[in-house]
Amino acid sequence: MSQVSPRAVLAVGVFCWSLSTAFTPIAAMSGFGALLAVRCTMGAAESVVLPSINKMLIKWIPPERKSLAVATIFSGLQSGTVAAYLISPTILENFGWQNLFYIYGAIGALWVVPWLLYARDSPNDPTSSDEFQLKQSSTELSIDRSDEKSIADIWSGAMKEGSRILEEAPLREMRQSIPVIAIAVAHAANNWGLYNNLAWSPTFYSETYGLNVRESAFFSVLPPGKHFKFITSFLLFFLNRSLIRSGRSIEWDYGCIGCG
């Protein structure tokens, strides 16, 4: 099994995307390709968030209560979307769009400090202050130092393990299984709608109705019901808990109801 610490991965991810957010204005001024590259880097860095959180939640929260924790944490995503629409216009009007990216990048980079101070991979994992200082001085090592393996070892081990899993995983059955395809299609459709909304709402309002930045951002908050999804997910917590208590496997039930 790979020995990569999710805490360190998340710290590096947040640092990278904050950095690329802060570099967005410079990239935009220097050229279109640079801007695309920065956006791509940012997407790659943000993809680390949910797997890392899931991986740590396994050790932090007992499965009965995990859905509540997941719902709480995912409500942060929706709150962030709403906050971005409500706060960004004010910053844009007062400081200009360059400073918007600088400010958001700085907030992200500042978050890394309390994370490294207080977060641990698991409740039983002692992270001493000495180790923390070591990590901080070498700008957030992505590999845990507690096990004495070189990066090459970890890399090759992870490669082997990954290929083993891919060989063992019944990919053919997955491809032929209608429920799996249905989940993939439903999720693609979900993201299609969501990202259409996220990317184009402000532009649509400003171009079609001639609204200014503040108004078009405000109206963008309302349409996607996705922002209020976390209410449903809190309700699902109770269902989930009773299902786990009764000892049934929950993935089929969820696939049946179609919860994203």
Binding site: V14, T72, A169, P202
Partner: protein, 217 residues
């Protein structure tokens, strides 16, 4: 040389392919993400997951055993009654008996697995259950909430900032589209990479879900 219209078409086509590939990559990656819920790699983590399957398998097995025993008893009855009457050989109960003994051999392993699983489950539950939402856990959840907020903030900020940026830098529609889509391209590709390197541990979950699908569909 390409005309302006051709170039526009090319850019639109490229954007479309980028969007489609990002959708595909994203959906694959996201499904990997969804499959990764509730799955871990250590003994305790796996025990939670395998326990549910184990419980189900065990109950299924018990049902199977009782079915077999009932069948064999019926067969014996039929045999005894029919041979008395008119030499009818009836159902062959010996094969049923051998099946029962075979399935009974596995029972000990099943039970010991089950017991050890229950033990591990109980230990982990007990260790976590004492004054559960401790300060540490709350701080951890708060930090995770913040990181979720930050990620959404940074990814949505672009769509709002795009309005003044377009005024200043003169983006076309397709340029705006590719700015929006390149985020998802990076996201999807990197999530797939994480799956590849076992950071997102999908194998176990995929196996179990296929198992369920095979049963129910």
């Amino acid at each position: 040389m390409l005309t302006i219209n051709d170039r526009r078409m090319l850019i639109a086509l490229l954007t479309f392919t980028a969007a489609v590939s990002s959708c595909a990559a994203f959906s694959i990656g996201e499904n990997g993400r969804q499959f990764s819920y509730h799955v871990g790699e250590s003994k305790e983590e796996l025990s939670f997951h395998s326990m549910t399957n184990l419980k189900y398998n065990f109950s299924k097995k018990l049902r199977y055993d009782t079915k077999l025993s009932v069948k064999s008893k019926l067969a014996e009855k039929i045999n005894s009654s029919s041979t008395k009457k008119n030499g009818f050989t009836g159902v062959d109960s010996s094969s049923l008996k051998s099946r029962i003994s075979k399935s009974m051999q596995n029972n000990d392993k099943f039970i010991s697995d089950f017991r050890s699983g229950v033990k591990i489950e109980k230990e982990v539950f007990d260790s976590n259950d004492e004054n559960f939402p401790s300060k540490e856990v709350l701080v951890f959840i708060g930090l995770c909430w913040c990181v979720g907020l930050l990620s959404a903030l940074d990814r949505v900020a672009m769509s709002v900032a795009l309005l003044p940026m377009t005024q200043q830098l003169g983006f076309t529609e397709s340029m705006k589209g590719s700015i929006a889509s390149l985020f998802s391209v990076g996201y999807g590709l990197f999530v797939s990479l994480l799956c590849r390197f076992n950071y997102v541990y999908i194998g176990f979950h995929l196996r179990t879900s296929c198992y369920w699908f095979r049963i129910f569909c």
